[in-house]
Point group: C2
Chain length 396, copies 2
């Protein structure tokens, strides 16, 4: 049995770099950016009018001129106009190019306009006012978004602005999720008294969807030959396999044996944690095999605690580390890391974790009441209200 | 000009209840649940073996018996067996039904097994040990997930378990996103010196995708007749319209005029906030029209601050309120609510907000550096490090 820290380290050492691919930018949300996004020109690309009003040549305002003849209009989206008479003004719209021969914009609120004349009703105007200067946000060639970032709506706007209609992102791995256990029936079936419906495979599908992985699923009965044949195929076809169940010490828990017979090198089996202890992990030709215990909470926490970091490392982005404050005392005697389900409340900028008293690793419904798992370290048995510990969040 | 609070209140008063629809459960992630999910039977549905080992009748252990003859095996997924001789034991697997005539499970770790005999190497065993009692997690009829909850991977597992292959969720509204402005060209075009690429419409599409809304987009040139004709069509066809641009005081900002001519009742225009002030909001036959100012940051913050709450209220779920701690002093003179872009760090369970010094509402790239907007209230001009304020998050 190894520690949670050692298990995670082992898995991260076996992260593999994913290849990259180009996708249409609007389909890139949630994907990991694999190229620096660079300003294709200055931002703004011209001296941009920032308020509706008039543009003047500030020198004349300084000379005492307050009444300016309107020489023309510069709308947004039109090529730059030239003001011929420097003592005149130009009506300008937000987003327009500042007309040649002008250097200051005065907004309508500070004007009285009479057909062809604009009167400025201010005593002072700063030169360059209400102009968003060319290149003042970002200069051409500047990195606007560094690679290895998860793309969100904010990045989509930048991609559009610099004309990246196709964008290079990390490929997602091909993943097969396999459930085992003869007690399982399909979701649309009525289980016999001794049966339950398949659920872990679908939970895993949803957890992987958050990473933009569209996983496939299959179910294999607790039959050694069947397991061997199917897993053999999957090992050829997929980059990672996730199992739920068949890794305990039961008579029909063939999985570890079958995996080793198929040449998957076991790196560990059993981690000093609760829930999720009988977790088996191995590799075969760079492919990772995560065999999670079949209890719903065990599968859930292990996917978050191990598969997510493996994926992040492989795709090249950093998972944010979160810490929360324990909201009540917790006692936990076993010499194991304790992944305790908690609900998070934000009180005055503090993340306070209240334990959900679930009924152990089989209690699926408790997952719907919690926001994540606080990670209480091995070797400590009393955890006091106010202590800060690591947190794995799954609900915001 | 109205306050942010009053603007939000006005919008929430015009939230509309969405209809409901049934979708396959695996497609329900991110949707708003509109039915209580109830346990279709006890959880667990039977006295469930929680460890691999043997099941015994505890009375015989009490009598001093330590060697138990193995009468049979009860695998997971098989109908309940009956142990004929109460002094015997049954081998049992995790997930199996507890055999009739047994009441306690002893795990393999506490046994020595010799073909047909199991010897218990413990001095004490609690009656009922290692059994996950029928109904101990949840009893038949109990509400496992109350309605009006956003469905995540945790809920997917429960839906599968209770056999909800189809689930009732809130319909998403039909939304049209309209960009305006003659200075805009498409993403795959090379803009002239005075032009920029369309980006806000795509940012809005992405922001709405997070709510599972698949919005459509269109672009209308700054032409009053065109605007009127197209918007007239959209008002018939969509539940909500989102605009970006054409609501300032410019000569070509026809939008408010056109909307009112089409019978959209203006509820406000201009909110005491920065950025995003010239926001126009109106309703027509229960449909909401959100006309955001065209600057990227203005559009972004207003979608989060107004459209998101409108959607949440309409769909019937509660947006979590978040607060963060200001990490440095901020001064802001205007008598406006200040939506300041900040980056969030979690330090020992505290959410600390560091302002991103962007370049105003036009600076799209600054959005990629921040995690959200801290909302600094109107009427205060000095904000001190350590103060707690509301926070609108867009990146985790």
């Amino acid at each position: 049995m190894i520690t949670v820290e050692k298990a995670l380290q082992t898995i991260l050492e076996n992260a593999r770099g994913f290849e990259v691919e180009e996708v249409p930018f609007l389909e890139s949300v949630g994907r990991v950016l694999k190229e620096d996004i660079v300003a294709d020109r200055d931002f703004p690309p011209f001296n941009r009018v920032a308020m509706d009003g008039i543009a003047i040549n500030h020198r004349f305002f300084e000379y005492g001129v307050r009444d300016f003849k309107i020489e023309g209009v510069q709308p947004a989206g039109s090529p730059q106009e030239k003001m011929e008479n420097a003592a005149h003004c130009y009506e300008v719209m937000t987003g327009a190019v500042l007309p040649e021969n002008t250097d200051t914009v005065i907004r309508y609120e500070d004007l009285e306009i009479d057909t062809l004349m604009a009167k400025v009703v201010l005593d002072e105007v700063e030169q360059g006012k209400n102009i968003h200067k060319q290149g003042s946000d970002r200069q051409q060639g500047a990195v606007l978004i560094p690679k290895n970032r998860i793309i969100t709506a904010a990045e989509i706007g930048v991609l559009a602005t610099v004309g990246k209609s196709m964008v290079t992102v990390s490929k997602v791995p091909k993943v097969m999720i396999v459930s085992t256990g003869d007690e399982l029936v399909e979701v649309d079936q009525i289980p016999e008294a001794h049966q339950i419906r398949r659920s872990n495979a679908f939970t895993l599908v949803s957890l992987l969807e958050k990473l933009q992985i569209k996983a496939e699923t299959s179910h294999i009965t607790d039959d050694k030959e069947q397991l061997k044949e199917k897993i053999g195929e999957y090992l050829k076809k997929y980059d990672a396999l996730l199992f739920s169940g068949a890794v305990s010490k039961g008579k029909f828990d063939f999985l570890p044996e079958v995996l080793e017979e198929l040449g998957v090198e076991k790196l560990f089996h059993r981690v000093a944690q609760r829930p999720g202890k009988p977790f088996w992990y191995g590799i075969a030709e760079g492919k990772s095999v995560f065999a999670f215990p079949g209890n719903p909470v065990s599968t859930y926490v292990n996917c978050l605690a191990y598969f997510y970091p493996w994926f992040a490392k492989s795709a090249g982005f950093e998972l944010k580390e979160e810490t929360v404050i324990l909201g009540e005392d917790v006692a936990f005697k076993p010499n194991l890391t304790y992944f305790l389900q908690v609900k998070i409340e934000i009180r005055y900028g503090h993340l306070v974790a209240t334990p959900i008293r679930g009924n152990g690793s089989g209690d699926l419904a408790s997952l719907t009441q919690a926001d994540g798992f606080i990670q209480l370290p091995q070797g400590q048995t009393e955890f006091k209200k106010g202590e800060t510990h690591s947190f794995i969040r799954y609900r915001y």
